[in-house]
Amino acid sequence: MNHLLRERRGKTQPGIEPEPTVKHRADVAVRDAVPWLFMAICVILLSAPTGLPGGTELMFGVSVGTVYFWSAHRPESMPVWAVFLIGLLADLLSFGPPGTLLLSLLIVHGVAHTWRYGLSRINFIWGWGLMSVLALSLTLFQWMVACIGALRPMSPVPSLFQAALAAGIYPTLSVLFVWTHRTIVNPERA
């Protein structure tokens, strides 16, 4: 039984194993890349005029939720360079205060990656709470930068709506991601 388990875990266990073929390597690379590819596609689609209500706010919610989940649960699938590049793309395609979305994504990645062992032990509700607090603080930071840019206080209502949307969409996203994690990204752990 132990022997079988070790074989299924593959490269995580030391031992003699056959050299992976090119096809196998490509398969693993694509599976690893699914989370950040999903995020990149979401960013491009949400910047397009699809007629979705709240598209701008949704871009923040989806990208923060995606980075938070994968940085905590499978950091190999959400490398920091991908977070940076997609954050840069999202900032380029949106017209909010420049750099704030990129900085928010990097901070979310840093927090989730640093506390990933703690996050894997606590209840989902607590993890969701932490994500909501993060989304609220980062969106208020965005609002502050927008106020400094406009040199006058602006209404915080759009920011609060954006934070609420980010917190509200996370459970749905995490259900999708748990399923993706088990079936596509890392089927060996299913």
Binding site: P49, L93, F95, L106, M154, Q162
Partner: protein, 314 residues
């Protein structure tokens, strides 16, 4: 190449380094916003054809939904259209009579007509305001000669002005954006004011004369605004043609007049961008006339320097 410890230390430094870059982008965005907006417009320029493609399914579905919902009240719609047609026919007669009278009066006065503005019509590609701004990206095609400061109107009236121009697209700052300030004339009270956006759907009226308040329901038009002295060419936010319809005055609370825009600021579909040729606002030169120096520069009015003040005086 490096030892494992060095590699681990470098890997730990990547995130702080990238956060530092992001912070510099935030600071750059605050200090040089036009530069960042330029990059964003370039990106949008490249993606404009893809955006048109992405918008197509949504438009098709909306069209189908409109057709389906229209089928439900065909009879009501027909009766409504007949009424409106009868009304419009009456207005047509009035308009023809007025146009004839206008032409006759202009002929008697030897009226010199204004230059007809050139215009380009385009589809709105996407929202370009983000969470806090109110702006649109308009697809205008190649080489249409859209310039900064040109005015954008939809079927109802003025909706904004061009702030950035790309190869295929132009960014239009809507009149309800925080940064928009437009000089206006009020028709009934004959007053002047500034139309200032505040992010809400109804831009506010500011700086009107305190003894001549805007009247509820009166029409608001743009006020012609000349180029400042010393500026030539078509600089942004310096010149604006007068007489373009904007909307009507409404008091949302006592002492706080706003304008209900005629144009659709939320989801306009087709927008026209007008380019008005700059009229020469400077008068003809008068030979023999001695130019008067501006008071601030006249020597007798300038502040005395410390060398002019004698000690012991005063």
């Amino acid at each position: 190449m490096f030892s494992i410890q060095v590699q681990q230390a470098l890997a730990k430094l990547v995130l702080p380094f990238l956060i530092l870059i992001a912070c510099s982008i935030v600071v750059l965005g605050l200090a040089r916003r036009p530069l960042v907006d330029r990059w964003r417009l370039d990106a949008a320029d490249r993606l404009a054809p893809a955006y048109r493609l992405a918008a197509w399914p949504g438009e098709a579905v909306r069209g189908l939904y409109g057709d389906a919902s229209g089928l439900g009240h065909l009879a009501v719609e027909n009766a409504h259209l007949r009424d409106e047609n009868a009304k419009l026919r009456r207005w047509y007669d009035v308009a023809v009579a007025l146009a004839n009278e206008n032409a006759r009066l202009k002929a008697q006065l030897h009226w010199i007509p204004d230059n007809a503005p050139s215009f380009v019509t385009g589809h709105v590609v996407r929202d370009a305001g983000g969470l806090y701004g109110r702006a649109l990206l308009l697809s205008v095609g190649d080489g249409q000669g859209v310039q900064l400061g040109d005015v954008a109107l939809d079927a109802g009236g003025l909706i904004g002005r061009v702030t950035e121009v790309g190869a295929h697209v132009a960014r239009i700052l809507l009149i309800n954006d925080q940064a928009s300030r437009i000089p206006v004339t009020l028709t009934a009270s004959r007053g002047a004011a500034i139309l200032a956006g505040d992010g809400s759907p109804y831009p506010r009226l500011l700086y009107y004369a305190q003894d001549n308040h805007p009247v509820e329901g009166e029409r608001v038009f743009t006020s012609a605004q000349a180029l400042p002295v010393g500026q030539s060419g078509h600089a942004p936010f310096t010149s604006l043609p007068g007489g373009l319809p904007i909307g009507t005055v409404h008091y949302i609370r006592p002492g706080d007049p706003v304008v209900v825009p005629d144009g659709s600021l939320v989801h306009p579909d087709i927008v026209r961008v007008f380019h008005y040729d700059q009229q020469d606002e400077t008068g003809p030169s008068a030979p023999g006339r001695v130019p008067v120096q501006p008071p601030a520069l006249a020597p007798e009015l300038s502040a005395p320097s410390s060398a002019d003040v004698e000690p012991g005086r005063g």
